[in-house]
């Protein structure tokens, strides 16, 4: 049987505010456990929440960036359940009146087409703390540093039909929130976490099947794997005549396994009700207009500009504009010279390969965009060969020296491009190789002649101590040997 896959996403985005959504504690990641939790975060008796204006600004910016309506009257509710990393015994979140209403995001698919994914809504809420089960034998440690970190939870319509689309959407959302500067986008630290709702239905059917929710995926790769895994699991059940149980599942990316966390019947009754400690927040036009005016360039606009301003093709422009840090790196490099295409090639080649090999992000790169730009300038103006450029790149990366020109000088990588000097070298080498010259000149087959040309290059590079411009040598040779 043929099946249609239906996917909807819920994405938790940690907002990059300095302090928590309802308290003045720092949100910085990685501090000693429980050092960033004050009396409010610990839910000490009598303490009260005070909303963080910046979290609202960020949520509004997000709403504007995904073409959504902004709810003018934003209400917080209590979602009640007991868990040790939830100090108040309820999570303060939004239900009936989320701050961001319906919107949409357009995604580019691998086949070159574009697709619109609708956003159902996005709401503001507080993150819980962390329960640490591994470090304490037979016990659970609780770290409340994260408790109260502001989140927006973005909920999509079930508009995606395969893992590629879901991943493309997730990457686009990552690109939007990092471009806005409202999230640091560091998935390894949990700054973005994905829940995937998946159901299958017979191909062409209008009726949605029973869905499952796979929770807390924190990388694009795990998300892709988890979708493949869950689709296969559901397909196996349905093709054996079974029924899908509506449930929440956990996916273990290291083992490519999933297990049921709780079924619908076991789900909590969260007993939502409006939080009486927080009055409804009224958002006025001027607040929205200020947020609109503070919006930076968004990925779609940046991509169009990269094509226009730098003459990049669609693929390069899409790739370089998606990540705001990478885009900034590219622009810094490209501004040094005129050959943006060559900059793009270097970023996608040597630079990306090196980052991947060392598991670094653009932000951790030891070389700056300006340095890469300088390097590309020296390639373009024939000062160095591509082999020499790789040596310069290496020296920049390892921090041997931070100036491209200084490295070229120190390593003697400068090409000799003085045609007079090069011609003299060619004459001298050819004079010493009369047999090969004759052989070349007697050869009719242009392919073989081209190959034989290479036989002269070795001695020429040796004669120039490796500094002769190979392109010029080639031209002179062809001319002297009589094409």
């Amino acid at each position: 049987m043929q099946w249609d896959i239906v996917i909807g996403l819920e994405i938790h985005v940690q907002l990059a505010t300095k302090t928590k959504i309802f308290s003045g504690s720092s949100t910085a990641y990685g501090a000693e456990p429980n050092t960033q939790a004050n009396a409010v975060d610990l839910a000490m008796p009598g303490t009260l929440p005070v909303p963080n204006e910046q979290a609202f600004r960020y949520a509004v910016m997000f709403g504007l960036a995904v073409n959504a309506e902004i709810e003018r009257r934003s209400v917080f509710e209590r979602k009640n359940y007991f868990y040790p990393d939830l100090p108040k015994g309820y999570q303060t979140t939004q239900l009936e009146r989320p701050i961001v209403g319906p919107g949409y995001v357009d995604i580019d698919l691998p086949n070159g087409e574009s697709k619109r994914v609708r956003i159902h809504h996005a709401h503001l809420e507080e993150d819980a703390g962390k329960s640490l089960h591994e470090d304490f034998h037979g016990m659970t440690g609780v770290d409340l540093n994260r408790a109260g970190t502001p989140l927006i939870e973005v909920v999509t319509e079930p508009d995606m039909n395969n893992a590629d689309e879901a991943v493309a959407f997730a990457k686009k959302l990552h690109s939007i929130v990092t471009s806005l500067g409202i999230c640091d986008g560091d998935m390894s630290q949990g700054s973005m976490r994905f829940d995937v709702n998946i159901s299958l239905k017979p191909k062409g059917s209008d009726t949605l099947g029973t869905r499952t929710e796979t929770k807390n995926l924190n990388s694009f790769r795990f998300m892709e794997q988890a979708i493949a895994h869950e689709v296969e699991r559901q397909m196996d059940i349905l093709e054996d005549g079974g029924k899908i149980v509506q449930e929440t599942r956990l996916y273990n990316g290291d083992r490519d396994e999933s297990r049921s966390m709780r079924t619908k019947e076991e789900a909590n009754d969260y007993r939502y009700f409006p939080c009486p400690d927080l009055l409804p927040v009224e958002i006025d036009d001027s607040f929205i207009e200020e947020a609109r005016n503070s919006l930076p360039e968004l990925p779609d606009a940046r991509k169009a500009r990269f094509k226009d301003q730098y003459g990049l093709n669609d693929y390069d422009a899409g790739l370089l504009s998606g990540d705001s840090k990478l885009a900034a790196f590219f622009e810094e490099a490209a501004s040094q010279g005129k050959d943006a295409k060559l900059v793009a090639n270097w970023i996608q080649g040597e630079f990306s390969a090196r980052l991947n090999a060392e598991e670094k992000s653009v932000a951790d790169s030891p070389i700056t965009g300006a340095q890469l730009g300088d390097l590309v300038v020296r390639i373009a103006d024939n000062t160095i060969s591509s082999a020499g450029a790789k040596k310069v790149f290496e020296a920049l990366w390892t921090g041997e020296n931070d100036s491209v020109d200084a490295i070229i000088d120190a390593k003697g990588l400068k090409q000799v491009s003085d045609t007079g000097a090069l011609e003299a070298m060619v004459d001298e080498v050819l004079a010493g190789m009369p047999d090969q010259v004759a052989q070349y000149q007697n050869e009719e087959d242009p392919k073989k002649r081209k190959k034989m040309l290479g036989g002269f290059m070795g001695p020429l590079m040796k004669a120039s101590k490796g500094q002769g411009n190979p392109k010029l040598f080639n031209e002179i040779l062809v001319r002297k040997l009589g094409g």
Partner: protein, 485 residues
């Protein structure tokens, strides 16, 4: 000295008739000697009080004193006090020492007042008789001479009994459904529940957040005004506190009452009220007419729904507010929990008293899927109707007057077996909390030797007018000066 008002003590301190250390010592001695009869204090902070008194005397000597510098008072044990155990009347917090001050606590500290200790209360402010305290019931100083142990009312029963017994000239209190006014009435003292949002709730342990309001208790209206001067004001730590100018509440106490328009809600003079009580209240209202006030009957048509709405909304909020007492971070934890669920269920089953558990159950039920609309949403609609009743009434009159309670202080144990009878104690006070308007209870006579309270209700932020009306009444009556034997 112990029978003097805050205003008088403040003047005596200013004229060096007495030092704060002497005064503080006198009250501490009285508490030590007398409080075994009343059990009005949970914690007495003798050392801290004397140290604060010495500092206050130094401040007076240095010439930088407020009206409160060196004046002793007490806090209801619901207000968090930095470094001093704060129990909220519960086993759950028997050993809880907050590392922070409530805003109200900090304000009194700032003003130089000397806190004698923390007063007894119904557990988590849930009760109308102060019989729900883990630290034992409080006994009303009135009626003791006849050999009957009567309740002081609740939940601020410790504050009311301590003020009535002259163990402290003043005490803070809180009022969610009548918890200031009802004990003030039953103990013959003057109490004020301000407009919701007038006094910060930060550090005041929550029962029902949308109804809780900190307030004042003392023997005179003037002392209530002095207290409110310290307590009222916007607090950036409480999003529900209101940013509005705070007047000097003592400045308008002596305004004449001529032309004051008094409304008598007919629903509050119903058959629930005993004829003897009604007589006392009507006599009090006559005093106002003598001073030139006019009286007319008004109606609060939805008032009869107040108790039903309250006992949905308050428990619903409480059920969530009390979830933080889970045995994980602070407070009572059961012995040897075998797993997480055991830790939760036993800590809460053993740490909370019966009435608290009853209200958590009721509130949880009211918020549950399938019941939410019928209970919680319906109650919120009723609440809006009740608010509108008050708004309409205050288009016609300046203040409303009624009895504070349907009957005077009852005998301990009389109503403990039937929670609903107990809930009816607040029949005249509860609607005020739902509406969020301010109200006072002022001593207005006696029935069978037991105090009767006159309730004066005002429009939003009309505390100054209420205090003025109460003060003028106290200029021509002496009910508030009567001392239990």
């Amino acid at each position: 000295m112990h029978s003097k008002s805050v205003a008088e003590l403040s003047r005596d301190l200013e004229s060096r008739k007495v030092s704060s250390v002497e005064l503080t010592q006198e009250f501490l001695d009285r508490i030590k000697r007398e409080d075994s009869k009343y059990n009005s204090f949970i914690t007495v902070t003798e050392e801290q009080a004397l140290a604060d008194a010495r500092m206050a005397d130094e401040q007076r000597a240095a010439g930088n004193a407020t009206a409160w510098t060196g004046v002793p008072f007490a806090h209801k044990d619901i207000f968090c006090t930095n470094g001093v155990r704060t129990t909220c009347g519960s086993k759950m917090l028997e050993n809880f020492v907050p590392p922070y001050d409530a805003t109200v606590t900090a304000n009194f500290r700032q003003a130089g007042a000397v806190c004698l200790g923390k007063t007894n209360m119904d557990e988590f402010a849930m009760g109308s008789s102060n019989e729900n305290s883990y630290f034992g019931a409080v006994t009303n100083p009135w009626g003791l001479s006849e050999g009957s142990k009567r309740v002081p009312g609740g939940s601020s029963g410790g504050s009311a009994a301590a003020v009535a017994a002259r163990l402290t000239p003043a005490a803070t209190a809180t009022d969610t459904g009548g918890s200031i006014r009802q004990p003030a009435a039953l103990c013959g003292v003057t109490g004020l529940k301000p407009t919701y949002g007038r006094v910060s709730r930060y550090g005041m342990i929550a029962f029902a957040s949308s109804l809780d309001q900190g307030g004042t208790m003392a023997r005179t209206a003037e002392d209530n005004a002095l207290m409110l001067n310290v307590m009222a004001g916007f607090d950036p730590k409480d999003s529900t506190s209101i940013d509005r100018e705070v007047p000097d509440y003592t400045a308008t106490l002596n305004e004449p009452l001529k032309g004051l328009k008094i409304g008598l809600p007919k629903e509050y003079f119903s058959d629930q009220l005993s004829p003897a009580m009604e007589q006392q209240v009507r006599n009090a209202i006559k005093e106002y007419e003598k001073q030139g006030a006019t009286v007319k009957e008004v109606s609060l048509p939805n008032a009869k729904l107040a108790i039903a709405a309250y006992y949905v909304i308050a428990p619903a909020e409480a059920s969530a507010n009390l979830s933080r007492f889970d045995g994980v971070r602070y407070g009572y934890r059961c012995e040897d929990p075998k797993d997480l669920m055991d830790l939760y269920t036993r800590s809460r089953a053993e740490g909370f008293g019966e009435e608290v558990k009853r209200r958590i159950l009721v509130g949880t039920y009211a918020l549950s899927a399938g019941y939410f609309d019928a209970y919680y949403l319906k109650a919120q609609k009723v609440r809006r109707l009740i608010q509108q009743d008050f708004i309409n009434a205050f288009k016609e009159v300046d203040v409303l007057m009624s009895p504070t309670t349907p009957s005077p202080a009852f005998i301990q144990g009389e109503k403990t077996s039937d929670p609903v009878t107990m809930y009816l104690e607040d029949v005249f006070t509860i609607a005020i909390n739902l509406a969020g308007v301010p109200a006072m209870s002022v001593p207005a006579g006696f029935v069978d030797g037991l105090p009767v309270g006159l309730q004066i209700i005002g429009d939003y932020f009309s505390e100054a007018r209420l205090l003025n009306a109460a003060h003028q009444f106290q200029q021509v009556t002496d009910w508030h000066q009567r001392e239990p034997q």
